[in-house]
Symmetry: C2
Subunit: 210 residues, 2 copies
């Protein structure tokens, strides 16, 4: 998979020997995501960085597809001719970070003041509940696109808000709630989304019993 | 997802109140897999059982597909018209079991005396290495179809055999090696493949430093 620095230069895995040109490149002080990359691409990029550096092993799960018709012009080149997108039964990302199971969902909103619950499904909430019950680290990476702000929001908080809205409370999580109970993640050069730093903070917080 | 008892009766989630008919059903003493189920289906079934009983949260990852062409007759019914199977970059199954990250691959062979390495890919071995390095529980569930025997074989052993065959050693793992270094899993009623019992044994073994 080819990926690029925010300045558009292709990434090459020779960190110890940067070319003179790369070394001369000034670091941007503010990064608003890599040009033209979706949140998913930014996370895939970050996960690849974390894997290369043996920090964690996290992948996005493939999109689940219901295959209906396949042609086999040659066995090695089966062509799927009819298939449908299925709703995922779990969250999109999982893996292992220093012995701990991590499980998360990544979501964007165009809203500036709150994160609507319609971005989530009941089965994802139940999946979080089951994983937390087993001792997993579960969260959502929320991006407020108009604000270009990213947060790690703990699944424990999400679940309590979700259960409340089922009982009639507000149908979204306010930005101030996200700021107060989440952990902001600032875009940087590599990994572009350093979400494991936020996970470290989350772990410290839960060790304090907060 | 509908699933069935080995006798073909559909499974209904009312364990506490079995119907009289089900209660009278004698338990089979030997089970050779559910009729007509593939190893994948047996494992999905077992994972569903484990999830329902809050024992573990493990899923098979969806098959990765490269989508080339999608028709949108209506937004809710997008039809994939051209797509191709991609090689998975990881193993097929992962999840969490009592706080521990588990990661495994399930493979069948028609061979009676050995498990050929052609069932594995280099990137799967590297994935195991990376996950073990993070403290994950990694293994293969091997099925010798003609023998109807199932084993959990630790990824640590697999990696050492793989590295040796790259250096010219045998291109398969002998059945006696699998018997000696793996843990046999006997089919049972529910879950049909009780592989977490074998994981418990694996953990005991590694705690003893064997």
């Amino acid at each position: 998979m080819a990926f690029h620095y925010p300045n558009g230069q292709p990434y090459t895995n020779n960190e110890t020997k940067p070319t003179k040109k790369q070394a001369r490149q000034p670091e941007a002080t503010t990064l608003f995501g890599k040009r033209g990359m979706t949140l998913e691409e930014e996370l895939n990029d970050s996960n690849q960085y974390y894997r290369l550096h043996a920090t964690a092993v996290v992948y996005k799960k493939p999109t689940p597809i219901q295959i209906v018709k396949v042609d086999y012009p040659a066995r090695s080149q089966a062509v799927i001719k009819e298939a449908y997108f299925k709703q995922a039964s779990t969250t999109d990302y999982n893996g292992i970070y220093q012995g701990r199971y991590v499980d998360f969902e990544a979501k964007e909103t165009k809203n500036k003041t709150a994160f609507p619950f319609r971005n989530f499904h009941q089965h994802q909430i139940e999946h979080f509940r089951a994983c937390l019950n087993q001792g997993g680290i579960c969260f959502v990476i929320m991006k407020f696109v108009p604000l270009q702000r990213l947060f790690l929001y703990p699944a424990t908080e999400l679940i309590s808000r979700w259960d409340a809205q089922v009982d009639g409370a507000r149908k979204s999580i306010s930005l101030s709630d996200v700021i107060d109970n989440g952990i902001e993640i600032k875009y940087q050069l590599n990994p572009i989304i350093p979400y494991l730093d936020a996970v470290d903070q989350l772990l410290k917080r839960s060790n304090k019993g907060v």
